[in-house]
Symmetry: C2
Subunit: 456 residues, 2 copies
Amino acid sequence: MRNPLLVPDLRELMRDGETDALRDFFGDLHPATVAEVLEDMEPEEADTVFALLEPRARAEVMSYLDGETQVRIVEAMPTPDAAELFHLMSHDERADLVNRLDDDRVDEILRHMRQAEREDIRRLASYEQGTAGAVMTTDYAELPPGITAREALDRLRHEAPDKETIYTSYVTDSNRRLVGFVTLKKLILARPSARIEEVMQRDLIVARVDEDQENVARQIGKYDLIAIPVVDAADTLLGIVTHDDAMDILREEQTEDILAFGGVVAGVEGEDTPYWQSRITVAVQRRIGWLLLLFFGGAITSFVMNRFSGITGRVNDPRVNLEVFIPLLIGTGGNAGSQTVSTIIRGLALGEIYRSDVIRVLIREWMTGLLLGALLGILGFFYMWLIVGKSHAFSAVIGLSILGICMWANTVGAMVPLLARRLGIDPALVSAPLISTLVDATGLIIYYTVAIFLLT
Amino acid sequence: MRNPLLVPDLRELMRDGETDALRDFFGDLHPATVAEVLEDMEPEEADTVFALLEPRARAEVMSYLDGETQVRIVEAMPTPDAAELFHLMSHDERADLVNRLDDDRVDEILRHMRQAEREDIRRLASYEQGTAGAVMTTDYAELPPGITAREALDRLRHEAPDKETIYTSYVTDSNRRLVGFVTLKKLILARPSARIEEVMQRDLIVARVDEDQENVARQIGKYDLIAIPVVDAADTLLGIVTHDDAMDILREEQTEDILAFGGVVAGVEGEDTPYWQSRITVAVQRRIGWLLLLFFGGAITSFVMNRFSGITGRVNDPRVNLEVFIPLLIGTGGNAGSQTVSTIIRGLALGEIYRSDVIRVLIREWMTGLLLGALLGILGFFYMWLIVGKSHAFSAVIGLSILGICMWANTVGAMVPLLARRLGIDPALVSAPLISTLVDATGLIIYYTVAIFLLT
């Protein structure tokens, strides 16, 4: 809830049917702010407000809404309105939306559109996720090399409202091969009678259509570009990727790196799964892989310890040698805690988790810990039982300790970044290293407490 | 070495005094590529090439060079040339450069410049690192509200070569208070006789001059801006931050987050310390803090284990109870390994470490591990000796094991991301979770091996 004060007033206006006042209110806001308010409202309220907006404003607001809300709004709209919205949306964003919508709904909407647009949408929607093709847009400004600067400016003036950017125009020959580019700055500085081929720059930096989106974003950053042209193997111009998309890609990659560092497997590249939208079972799926691998790592460590502990001169009685399993247990706890920390830090960084969400976050992470702990605990029980040949009671100590430690690690892993944020400290700066120390010491207390209850 | 094939050819041209050929060659390259080649050359070679470039090209290349090379080139230049370079550089970059140069050298250069520019440089250089003021530039386009669109376009055409961007112009009243903005697109679409105050937009998104640079970059990303205006408390326009600076800021923050996650304290915010430029003692300083804290955490864990191990029914003989110190040792190893991983991943992400650097990286990290291990090992020795009251031999086992584990953890922590990169896997995706498992198991072998040699 980013705009908690706005929503009650707006509800009153809606209840009283003050559509003019609502329209004025939203007309004055930046589209990004309108999108935030819509996401905070109940679905029917948001649909009502969206219907009040001007068609062009709708298209602008769409570009700031999250995928789930976009789909819901388009599903609820009359088909001709949806077709008009598609017509006005930027080409890359409508292609992404098409990939999220139901196929039948897409067919319905496309039937209301001109063939050229229909084909453009189908083609852009067909590129593989995570490539330049999937993030590029086709509403770029294109110029032939033979016209004059004055003619080019007239053309751009005419086309400007429908283009993503007119600050760089791409020059193509009669085969649509990219031969150069010219900035608007250069055009207005040029002699009006100069031909484009005289003023254009030929030192092109291009992206291939199947290139990884992260590379493309890095090129844009490296060369300080407003947009990068995307070509196929024959240098045919297919689209452009703009600087604001590059920033979104880098932000996404950044948060994926944080997840990866915590040992959480992110979704398919390019897929966005906000913190609250993915189900707990999905969170478990993305985390269990590394936890299992690290569990076996811990099991090997226990084996090594067991192998060597004879050398200390003590008779090796594994039945009571609780210490041998400590690396396994605190390793599992530390890893589960790191995963939670990275999940929470990502949610905070992307603005998906707010201050007021503390209780919801704790419940969610505690549940995740319960599921992960149950899975690993059962595994730990049978590992003890079958391989090492321990007693019932000893296997239960290991299984229950793993369960308790996972739940505890997830709680601490969620608390520390939230607490850091509340104290005004950057959560990324303190959380990861602190968590292992906190979970190590307290995990041992859980282990020994369980052991006291079951073994003595 | 990013352009290994270019440099030998260029050396030949330089040796033969083929200055025209060199000038042509560099004239055709993108300034970012020229900068890369210069960074790969020997200092005197780079200075020779830089002197061949046109003054405006020099200013462009400067903006892509790292801070160290910038300083070296300006130190080596004749003062009037340096003053001309300053005149042509973008205002934010020359202010950053001034902060890196020797004060006397700055005074010399500024004496060759006009007073207005001198004051601009001094003012921009005075803002606190990490704030909007420190990253903003003052070469923005400014328009009064009363002139017509045609007059505005004429003015921009005239000023364009000296401005960072003319795609957004900022409208200020007679007190220099920011009242609106107008995009170049809107200007060329407007009636030529329309007044700026009629066509300008008033829904301003601004940054305060003392705002954190990361916030500013996020605003630019959120609202898809080409630039954001920076104002003081009285709304006076002071400068702008552009989209390409925002991307640099986010990239820097991203890699700082990775370091933080690995438990390495980054430098002062906004300060750039490339992998190879910071000395090993600096690396040790940035890492020892967390390692010490986590060491004490491990010591507490040992204490807890010792406290509870009585309950297992066995007589507690700490003299031979090696297991009690395992969490301390493998915790230290895991933490040192994570720090190395995050340092290497950052270096790879920023393009500071190349494939051919494997041996240099290993030596460097091994040395860092030696220093860290020696510090912590001595601490571990005395901790055992004084607090826990162990024997000489037992204290030596702990101290030497910590030394060995730190060196080993640093080696593994450097190898894994480099190996992942070589296998075509994203180093961030595999390294952090793998490292703890690898270091845990092997660290134990080191510990028990040392114990066998000293205790039996």
